[in-house]
C-alpha cells in the first residue's frame, strides 16, 4: 500500500483513481516535499477537526487534494498557467476557463488559496512556505499579508510553477499587485493589472460614478484582449454566460446548503462550511463538478440533521455572523463554536443585496464592472460596510464577529468604522477580532479564546435579558 493510500481513501479517492493517478500523486507530493509522516499528520488533523462522518465533507477535502495536484503539476503537464489574485474579480477565472476551447490545456486558479487550504488546513505545513515568502521580499514585522507570503514563498520554493500570466486586481489592496511586481522582477512573468479607484465618498453606496465603472470596464476589456492575444481565448458575453452556467451547479449547491445553515440549532460546523467557501473563488478545476457534487451530498446530509434537530451548538445558542474563516487553520474556526457560539453563516456565503437598476453600459467589461460596484467591496469602505449590513437580513444573528487579517489593509482601513456603523444602525454587538488567516505565529489561541468567550458571555446575557 502506498504511504498516502489511507489519507486519500479517507478523502474518498477510489481505488481505480489511486491506481491511475499514482504517478501524478507521487510526483505532486515529491514537489511539495510531503512524505509518510506528513500523511499521518494530515489524516489525524482531518479526523480531529473535520466532521469525517459526513460523506460530503470527505469528498470536499478530496476535491482540494485534486486541485492541489493540478496546480503543482500544471507546468509539467504542459498546461498554460493563469493565476489570479485573491480575492479575484468576480467570476474572472471561470470566465477564462469557460471560454477556453480545450479546457484541459489550461490551469486557471488562485495558488495562494489552494496552498493555504491544503498545506495549512490539512498538513499544518505552511510555515516553511511563509518563511520563504518572508525571505523573498515580504519580511516579518511589517504587517505583510501572509496570503501573499504564501504565494511568494511557494514560487520561491518552486512548489508551484511560474505562470504564463498573472492577473492582479490593483485597487482593492496595494500589497497584491505590489507582490506581483516583485515576482515579475524575480521570475519575469507578465502581470496584467486590473485597475480602478475606490474613491467613492463615505455614505454614497449604492450610488456610483459612471466614469468609475467606465474606467474599470476599460481595464477589464483590455484584460480580455490580452487573454485573447496570448492564449487565443475569446471572452465575450456568451462565454461569460457559459462560465456562469458551468458554475451554476456549484452556486446552487452552495445556496441550498447556506439556506439549511440558517436552522436553529445550526447543523454544520464552521470548520466544515469553510471547506466550500473557497471552491468558487480559489480554483476552476475539479471543484466545478466534483466540488458541486460534494456540496450537494453535504446539503442532503445536513438536511437530515435539520429534520432530526441535530446541531453542532445547542439550540438557542447566541448566533453570530462571521466575516471570514481562517483558510489555513481549523483550530481558529473551531474556537468560535467552542465558545458556545453558533455560526449560521459567513458573509461571503450570503447572497449579495438586490441590485439597483442597471445603466445601459455597452461593453462586457463595463457590465461586469457595474456589478462589482453594486457588490460593495469594490465601491468603497462604506460599500463594504453596507454589504455586511445588507447581508444581515438573510441571517438571523445576535452579533457579528469581524474577524479580519490584521495585515490586510482593506480590512484594517474600515474595521473600526464598520463596528461603529453596524452597531449604531443595527444594535448588533460587533467584535473586532484581529487574526492572521495563514500565519499562526501572529495570534495566540489563548488570547483569541478569551476574547471569544467574553463576547459569547455578553451575547448570552443580552439574549437572556431580552
Amino acid at each position: 500500500m502506498t504511504y498516502y493510500h489511507k489519507l486519500l481513501k479517507l478523502c474518498e479517492f477510489d481505488e481505480a483513481e489511486l491506481l491511475s493517478q499514482k504517478e501524478r500523486i507521487e510526483r505532486a507530493f515529491q514537489i511539495l516535499e510531503l512524505g509518510p509522516a506528513d500523511m499521518e499528520i494530515a489524516e489525524a488533523r482531518i479526523k480531529k477537526y473535520f466532521d469525517t462522518g459526513l460523506l460530503g465533507v470527505r469528498k470536499a477535502i478530496g476535491v482540494w487534494f485534486k486541485e492541489l495536484f493540478d496546480l503543482v503539476l500544471s507546468r509539467e503537464e504542459g498546461k498554460k498557467i493563469i493565476y489570479y489574485g485573491y480575492p479575484p474579480f468576480q467570476y474572472i477565472g471561470l470566465a477564462i476557463k469557460a471560454a477556453a476551447k480545450s479546457k484541459n490545456d489550461f490551469y486557471v486558479g488562485c495558488p495562494e488559496a489552494v496552498i493555504s487550504q491544503t498545506l495549512g488546513q490539512f498538513f499544518h505545513k505552511l510555515l516553511p512556505v511563509l518563511e520563504a515568502g518572508e525571505d523573498a521580499g515580504l519580511p516579518p514585522g511589517h504587517a505583510m499579508c501572509s496570503l501573499l507570503q504564501v504565494k511568494v514563498g511557494a514560487l520561491e520554493k518552486g512548489i508551484i510553477p511560474v505562470p504564463d500570466l498573472s492577473i492582479a486586481t490593483s485597487y482593492f489592496c496595494d500589497m497584491g499587485p505590489k507582490s506581483d511586481e516583485l515576482l515579475q522582477y524575480k521570475f519575469g512573468y507578465p502581470v496584467e493589472y486590473i485597475d480602478s479607484c475606490l474613491d467613492s465618498a463615505w455614505g454614497t453606496w449604492p450610488e456610483y460614478d459612471h466614469e468609475t465603472v467606465r474606467y474599470l470596464g476599460a481595464q477589464l476589456d483590455k484584460l480580455f484582449c490580452t487573454i485573447k492575444d496570448k492564449f487565443a481565448i475569446e471572452i465575450n458575453d456568451e462565454t461569460w454566460q457559459q462560465g456562469r452556467l458551468i458554475a451554476g451547479r456549484l452556486y446552487s449547491a452552495i445556496n441550498k446548503l447556506t439556506g439549511l445553515l440558517a436552522a436553529d440549532p445550526v447543523p454544520l460546523s464552521v470548520v466544515d462550511s469553510e471547506l466550500i467557501l473557497n471552491f468558487p473563488i480559489g480554483c476552476t478545476g475539479s471543484v466545478m463538478d466534483e466540488g458541486a457534487e460534494a456540496i450537494e451530498i453535504l446539503a442532503e446530509e445536513v438536511k437530515k440533521r435539520v429534520e432530526n434537530g441535530f446541531g453542532v451548538a445547542p439550540k438557542e445558542s447566541p448566533r453570530v455572523l462571521i466575516v471570514l474563516h481562517s483558510i489555513s487553520d481549523p483550530v481558529v474556526n473551531r474556537l468560535i463554536e467552542d465558545a458556545g457560539l453558533a455560526v449560521p453563516s459567513t458573509m461571503a456565503l450570503l447572497p449579495p443585496p438586490p441590485e439597483p437598476e442597471s445603466y445601459p453600459f455597452t461593453t462586457l467589461g463595463e457590465k461586469r464592472a457595474e456589478k462589482a460596484m453594486f457588490g460593495g467591496a469594490y465601491h468603497s469602505t462604506y460599500g463594504m460596510v453596507k454589504r455586511i449590513q445588507a447581508s444581515l437580513k438573510y441571517a438571523d444573528v445576535d452579533g457579528i464577529i469581524y474577524n479580519y487579517p490584521f495585515a490586510c489593509r482593506p480590512f484594517v482601513c474600515g474595521n473600526k468604522l464598520t463596528k461603529l456603523h453596524i452597531e449604531n444602525e443595527t444594535g448588533l454587538p460587533t467584535l473586532l477580532l484581529d487574526m492572521d488567516p495563514q500565519d499562526e505565529r501572529y495570534y495566540s489561541i489563548g488570547a483569541l479564546r478569551t476574547r471569544l468567550e467574553t463576547f459569547a458571555e455578553m451575547l448570552r446575557a443580552r439574549k437572556a435579558a431580552a
Binding site: 521580499g137 515580504l138 519580511p139 511589517h142 504587517a143 505583510m144 492582479a168 490593483s170 485597487y171 489592496c173 496595494d174 500589497m175 499587485p177 505590489k178 507582490s179 511586481e181 516583485l182 515579475q184 522582477y185 524575480k186 502581470v191 493589472y193 485597475d195 480602478s196 479607484c197 475606490l198 474613491d199 467613492s200 465618498a201 463615505w202 455614505g203 460614478d209 466614469e211 468609475t212 467606465r214 474606467y215 476599460a218 481595464q219 483590455k222 468603497s380 469602505t381 462604506y382 490584521f406 495585515a407 489593509r409 482593506p410 484594517v412 482601513c413 474600515g414 474595521n415 473600526k416 468604522l417 461603529l420 456603523h421 484581529d434
Partner: protein, 379 residues
C-alpha cells in the same frame, strides 16, 4: 541667508496668514499631499490652497489609535490623529479637504475623517496606471474638483483665471527646479534642509511671496561660495518627508553626509515639469500632474520610478542612497527589497534603508546606522 530667513518667517506665520485670508472671506482649500491635487484650481477659484503635510510628532500617531489600527502608514495615522483631535489649527481652518485617493493608507484618512469629523471631504481617484483610460479618469476627477471648488467659492474657474494660476505655479516650479539643479555641481550652495524647507513652503505659503523670496535666494546662491557638500553626496528617497519630520536630514547632516537630491511620494512637491498654458488647460493639468509625474511606489508597476531614481543618482553624482520610509507603507517596503539590486547593477551604489514610526526612541539606532553607512561609502 536673508531669503531663507524670510521664507522661514513666512512659514512660521502661515497659519495667521490663512486666518487673515479667511476673515476676508477667502476659502481655504486643504489638500492631502502626494502631488495629485493641482493647486492651480484652488488659486483660480480665488481660494488659498494649503497642504496637510505637517507630521513627525508621535503624539498624533498615538492619538489615532482609537480610530484606526496601527498597521497603516505612520504619516496617515498621524493625519488621522491630527484631524480628529479638533486641535490642529490647519484642519480647523480648512473649508474642504480635497483627497486624491491613491492607496489604502490615504483612503483610510479620507474615510475616517469623513466619519468622525465635520470636515467636508472631497475624494477623487488617482488611477494606478498611466494609460489613456487612466488619464481620462484622472481628468474626470479634476473636472469634479473644479466643479466643487466653483460651488464652494462661488467663483467660476474661467480659462483666463486658470491660465494665470498655472503661470504662477509654473514660475514656482521653475524656481524650485533652478535651485534644486544647482546641487548638481561639485559645490553645493544650499543644504538639503533648506531646500526641503522651501519645498514645504511651496505647499503652505502664498505663492507670490515665495516666488519673490526664491528669486532673491537664487541671486544670493549665485554669489555665495559656501559649499554644503563636504561629505558623501546622497540621494534621499522614500514614502513621505513631512514638514516637522526633520530628524532624517538632521542625522545625515550630523553624520557628515550631504543630501543633494530628494524624491518622495509625499512631502516633496514635484517640480520637474511645467504645465502647458496652451490648448485645453484641464487636459494640460492632467498631463503634467498625472502623465508626466514620476510615479510613486503604489503605481502598477512602478518601475518607472526606480529607473528615475537610478537616473537621479547618476545625474547628481551621488555616492549613496538613503531610503527613508514610514512604517507599514507596504508598496515602499516591497520595493526596498529589490531596488538595491537594481541600483547596484546600474550604478554600483549601495543603499541604506531606514524606517520610522515618528517614535523618538528610533533616533539612536538610526544615527548609528547612518554613521556606519557613511563610513562604508567613504571607504
Amino acid at each position: 541667508m536673508e531669503a531663507i530667513n524670510k521664507i522661514k518667517a513666512h512659514l512660521k506665520s502661515g497659519i495667521n496668514d490663512l486666518k487673515q485670508a479667511k476673515d476676508q472671506g477667502i476659502k481655504i482649500i486643504g489638500y492631502v499631499p502626494g502631488g495629485y491635487f493641482p493647486e492651480e484650481l484652488a488659486i483660480a477659484a480665488g481660494a488659498m490652497p494649503v497642504c496637510l503635510i505637517r507630521a513627525g510628532d508621535h503624539a498624533s500617531v498615538e492619538a489615532s489609535i482609537a480610530y484606526i489600527d496601527r498597521w497603516l502608514d505612520t504619516f496617515y495615522r498621524a493625519q488621522i490623529g491630527s484631524g480628529v483631535s479638533g486641535k490642529d489649527q490647519y484642519y480647523n481652518i480648512i473649508d474642504v479637504m480635497i483627497a486624491p485617493i491613491t492607496d489604502s493608507n490615504n483612503r483610510a484618512l479620507s474615510d475616517t475623517l469623513d466619519y468622525h469629523t465635520d470636515i467636508d471631504i472631497f475624494p477623487f481617484g488617482v488611477p494606478h496606471k498611466k494609460e489613456e483610460s487612466g488619464y481620462q479618469y484622472y481628468l474626470h476627477g479634476l473636472k469634479k474638483v473644479k466643479a466643487k471648488l466653483e460651488q464652494l467659492t462661488g467663483v467660476e474657474i474661467t480659462e483666463e483665471r486658470l491660465k494665470e494660476a498655472i503661470q504662477l505655479c509654473n514660475k514656482e516650479r521653475e524656481l524650485l527646479r533652478k535651485i534644486s539643479l544647482m546641487r548638481k555641481s561639485e559645490i553645493v550652495p544650499i543644504s538639503a534642509k533648506d531646500f526641503v524647507m522651501i519645498n514645504h513652503a511651496a505647499m503652505i505659503i502664498d505663492k507670490k511671496v515665495l516666488i519673490e523670496c526664491m528669486k532673491s535666494l537664487i541671486q544670493e546662491l549665485q554669489e555665495t561660495d559656501t559649499d554644503n557638500a563636504k561629505g558623501p553626496r546622497l540621494l534621499l528617497t522614500g514614502s513621505t518627508l513631512a514638514m516637522g519630520d526633520g530628524k532624517i536630514l538632521d542625522l545625515i547632516e550630523e553624520a557628515g553626509g550631504n543630501v543633494v537630491i530628494e524624491e518622495f511620494a509625499e512631502g516633496i512637491k514635484p517640480y520637474w515639469q511645467n504645465v502647458n498654458t496652451s490648448g485645453d488647460l484641464l487636459e494640460a493639468l492632467a498631463q503634467t500632474y498625472f502623465m508626466d509625474r514620476i510615479v510613486p511606489a503604489w503605481f502598477r508597476p512602478a518601475s518607472e520610478r526606480l529607473e528615475y531614481l537610478v537616473k537621479l543618482a547618476k545625474d547628481f553624482s551621488v555616492d549613496g542612497v538613503v531610503w527613508y520610509q514610514l512604517m507599514y507603507r507596504e508598496s515602499y517596503k516591497i520595493e526596498s527589497y529589490y531596488f538595491p539590486d537594481i541600483l547596484e547593477k546600474e550604478t554600483g551604489l549601495s543603499m541604506l534603508t531606514l524606517e520610522s514610526d515618528y517614535d523618538p526612541s528610533e533616533i539612536g539606532q538610526m544615527r548609528t546606522r547612518i554613521e556606519t553607512y557613511l563610513e562604508s561609502i567613504r571607504r
